[in-house]
């Protein structure tokens, strides 16, 4: 499964399950839509670290890295390349 699919899946099945959505637009602003909240981001970081084998520094938890699925894919991809 690619990074995007894994991330979308964790949103649909764990983080934003109450929304009842079947898919998420990669460019959708998850922060402005309130899809990603303060507890959701904690779960997301744990998921990313466990599933992609990277360490997300606290300093990297900023809007530009987690605004949308697309920005997360870019962030995770870069971190994986620099491992």
């Amino acid at each position: 499964m690619h990074i995007l699919e894994k991330l979308e899946n964790v949103f649909l099945t764990e983080i934003a399950v109450d929304l009842g959505k079947k898919s998420l637009d990669p460019g959708e602003d998850l922060l402005e839509q309130g899809i990603l909240d303060s507890i959701g981001i904690m779960k997301l970081i744990v998921f990313i670290e466990e599933n992609f084998g990277i360490k997300v520094e606290d300093e990297e938890i900023i809007p530009e890295n987690f605004q949308s699925l697309s920005s997360m894919v870019t962030f995770v991809g870069q971190k994986m390349q620099n491992k």
Binding site: L31, D37, M42, K43, V46, D58, I62, P63
Partner: protein, 381 residues
């Protein structure tokens, strides 16, 4: 898996116990009655190295690892009768020093850390507002950038150390559209234009830790005093809370141990109906339960320390530790009073004070209910 302390850690913990017993307890009762902060004790703690326990030697700290910090905090909690002072110091370390060290620029670290560590400055953070407590990120306080300065407007409530603080880490909304990710953190000095502190708030317990309201009226903060990037406030807050939940409660574990020793001693020496009350299961079972809660509290605390020492995240484990230790401490304080009867209920002993102090632990650093929310959320609920 080995959670035992090293010989050095045991020695350091014992030195913290000796220090607290000798340097911090004189006049504690009078300060408690007057709700008076022990500034002299604050200085003594800094001289001992408490404020710099986890801070690098470069800035004047002791550079201790987390387990050693916890061991020292346990020792202080065991021997120091001034829980308000310990709470003030922990707020200072985990919600001001620690985030500046982790997220600060070199300039910010050089400017603030030495003073915070050597005891000449007092710090804290300002998050809670009159209308946002558990829902911390729903704050109203706003920071608007004009040129190279931010102007912060809002009111912060129940801010530990506010009346005595030289510097506070203030959280404010910089982009309201982004929810929790639109919050930023600012290092605000007490002398900044537009910054003021209301009169100290009188609380049920922790009376020697000054607490107050902070008013930010067009408070002018240089851009260089923003901590981390814009929008990093939530990450900074979550990080400091995880550390605080992991380390502050070591004081409680130490205090629980002392509490149990006092109960055992009383149960052995207090005679009723011809024998020591500890020979009655009604009393001995209470103390056995207290001991079990202490043991489990220490285990969850050390588990979190072990995880964090390895650089791992511990959102659930620190929530479990905070929840379990704070609630266990309250239960143990209640039982200690019951075991001591009228003596426990009287103000002659510290037991009623311990209970008042312990209840705060279920509220600050995220209420017990919020800890359960975090745990439940990670269970998919």
């Amino acid at each position: 898996m080995d959670f035992s302390l090293t010989e050095d850690q045991v020695v350091f913990k014992e030195s913290a116990i000796k220090f607290a017993g000798q340097a911090l307890n004189a006049g504690a009762k009078e300060r408690e009655n007057k709700g008076e902060f022990n500034r002299e004790g604050w200085g003594k703690c800094a001289d001992f190295g408490v404020q710099g326990l986890p801070m690098p030697e470069k800035y004047g700290g002791l550079g201790m690892d987390i387990l050693t910090c916890i061991a020292a905090m346990e020792g202080l909690g065991y021997a120091c009768r001034d829980s308000g002072l310990l709470f003030a110091i922990n707020s200072h370390i985990w919600t001001c020093e620690s985030p500046i060290l982790k997220f600060g620029t070199d300039h910010q670290k050089d400017k603030y850390l030495p003073g915070l560590i050597n005891g000449s400055m007092i710090g804290g953070h300002a998050m809670t507002e009159p209308d946002s407590g558990s829902d911390a990120f729903s704050m109203n306080c706003k920071a608007i950038k004009k040129g190279d300065r931010y102007f912060i407007n809002g009111t912060k409530m129940f801010i530990s150390n506010a009346p005595i603080a030289d510097v506070l880490l203030v959280f404010a909304v910089t982009d309201a559209k982004k929810g929790f990710a639109g919050i930023s953190a600012f290092i605000v000095e007490k002398g900044f234009p537009g910054f003021s502190v209301g009169k100290p708030l009188e609380m049920m317990g922790l009376k020697t830790c000054p607490m107050g309201e902070v008013i930010l009226d067009d408070c002018e903060v240089p851009e260089e005093n923003r901590l981390g990037k814009e929008g990093a406030g939530a990450a900074i807050f979550n990080s400091e809370m995880e550390w605080e939940r992991s380390c502050l409660f070591a004081n409680h574990v130490g205090a629980m141990e002392k509490n149990i020793e006092e109960c055992i001693n009383y149960a052995k020496t207090r005679h009723q109906f011809g024998k020591p009350i500890g020979k009655y299961q009604a009393i001995s079972h209470k103390i056995a339960d207290m001991r079990a809660r202490l043991e489990l509290s220490r285990l969850v605390l050390y588990k979190v320390a072990w995880l964090k020492a390895q650089g791992k995240r511990a959102p659930v484990e620190s929530a479990i530790a905070k929840l379990f230790i704070s609630e266990s401490y309250v239960e143990n304080c209640m039982e200690a009073i019951q075991i001591h009867g009228a003596y426990g209920y009287s103000k002659e002993m510290d037991l009623e004070k311990n209970l008042r102090d312990s209840i705060a632990g279920k509220i600050y650093s995220g209420t017990s209910e919020i800890q359960r929310n975090i745990i439940a959320s990670f269970l998919g609920l």
